[in-house]
């Protein structure tokens, strides 16, 4: 293995969870090898990938001989190990707020609109799932708007990029691009989203900049 290539990220270009980690890696300046997992072709179900993650989800990080899946877990692992350009503040209250915002996204919003869960719902009952996804996103965004409106500066919790921003940036883009969420209801989040679009790490990590972009049709 070459120098600086010991970090491997299994990712899908369109996955917002993978995007979070790509953003964090870019922000911290950690070089990594990109391994595409084509979710449309079902590559997440291959025996080799199952050994890495029995839940068949991306992203998965392999760092030396540590294998971590789940973007929140990967984020905390990176934050501990690579202390350059920290993504969690020292102040305990702002730190807790960042953990909370990321957790609302990771547990209360994204799971309700991930492709696998929506497909399961459709398969089991043929339910109209886009409205369900929109309902959960709107509920979550209302909560996030309340959490950020009195603390946001240039970024979600002040003047530096932290965990909340890493999770918010991909979530807002997904919500707008895939689920037609009306961001005028969330002025703080909308303003943050515009700020993120000006960041180099946002562009480097965004779906269309990935090696597997546009290789499959959704």
């Amino acid at each position: 293995m070459g120098i600086g290539r010991k970090v491997v990220l299994y990712s899908y270009w369109l996955s917002s969870c993978s995007w979070r980690i790509r953003f964090a890696l870019s922000h911290k300046g950690i070089p990594y090898e990109y391994k595409a997992v084509d979710l449309v072709k079902g590559e997440q179900f291959s025996p080799e990938f199952e050994k890495l993650n029995p839940l068949h989800c991306v992203p998965v990080l392999v760092d030396d001989n540590v294998v971590v899946s789940d973007s929140y877990a990967i984020f905390l692992h990176l934050e501990q190990k690579y202390t350059r350009k920290p993504l969690l503040p020292v102040d305990p209250q702002i730190r807790a707020l960042n953990l909370q915002i990321a957790s609302v996204i990771n547990s209360s919003i994204q799971p309700h609109h991930m492709i696998g869960a929506l497909k399961d719902m459709e398969k089991m009952f043929g339910a109209e799932t886009k409205q369900w996804a929109q309902y959960k996103i709107d509920k979550g965004f209302l909560a996030l708007e309340k959490l950020t409106k009195n603390v946001a500066g240039t970024y979600a919790t002040g003047e530096r990029i932290y965990m909340a921003d890493v999770f918010l940036a991909p979530q807002i883009m997904q919500a707008v691009n895939r689920f037609d969420i009306d961001m005028s209801k969330y002025p703080t989040l909308r303003k943050l989203s515009e700020t993120y679009k000006g960041l180099a790490e946002f562009h480097a990590s965004s779906p269309q900049s990935q090696p597997d972009a546009c290789t499959t049709v959704d």
Binding site: L55, Q80, P92, A96, V104
Partner: protein
């Protein structure tokens, strides 16, 4: 208001909320006393103006520590672990930490959100009350199958060895719900059922258990 009163931790909780159960376990493990403030989710008390004034996000659990208010079980637990270092909830070994983060997130993002009250109600309303239990069971089985694979090379007396860590705090409430409320047969998941029995015999977990809470309905 007496300053002593202000110093005591307060936890807004619902007896059956597995997210509240997690925080109760963490508080017990660390020997932290707290005032229990019940919020009846079935009566919609989380949407009442008094509760929303405290936590505009409208979720339980909520921790009040002096004048600091924090919601989201993971954020609360990480905050408690930072501020009250007795009985640390994360191991020092980096591999073990990663396993703990991962197991906790399988519960908090892949299992719990897809089987909580709002999803169950949605399915009951949009599809049929008869589909509620099969949906919950399919979500639980998927997550538990992954957890059995993840933990099999790491368990000792507890999930990731012979000491209680973050994974146990998240697993115990989820296993309690699965085996006592949702009729998942224990023999399908040998590691998880053994852990469930162990948690039932551990005081910090027993005391945090739903039926032992002030607002429990028997």
């Amino acid at each position: 208001m007496a300053s002593e009163e202000n110093k005591k931790l307060k936890l807004y909780s619902y007896w059956r909320s597995s997210c509240s159960f997690r925080v109760r376990i963490a508080l017990n493990l660390k020997g932290l006393k707290y005032d229990y403030k019940p919020v009846n989710l079935l009566k919609g008390e989380q949407s009442h103006p008094e509760f929303l004034k405290l936590n505009p996000v409208g979720f339980v659990p909520v921790l009040v520590d002096g004048d600091f208010v924090l919601a989201d079980s993971l954020a609360i637990i990480m905050y408690l672990d930072d501020k009250y270092p007795q009985h640390p909830l994360l191991p020092t070994d980096i591999h073990k930490r990663a396993i703990n983060f991962q197991a906790s997130h399988i519960v908090s993002s892949t299992i719990q959100p897809l089987q909580n009250i709002s999803v169950i109600n949605y399915i009951g309303e949009k599809v049929s009350p008869d589909e509620k239990l099969p949906w919950v069971q399919s979500v639980l089985r998927k997550g538990f199958t992954a957890l059995e694979k993840l933990l099999k090379d790491h368990t000792g007396r507890y999930a990731t060895g012979d000491e209680i860590f973050l994974a146990d705090v998240f697993l115990a409430p989820q296993l309690h719900a699965a085996f006592t409320r949702f009729n998942i047969p224990m023999n399908e998941f040998p590691i998880l059922s053994r852990l469930h029995e162990t948690y039932n015999a551990t005081p910090a977990f027993q005391e945090a258990s739903p039926q032992n809470q002030p607002d429990a309905v028997h």
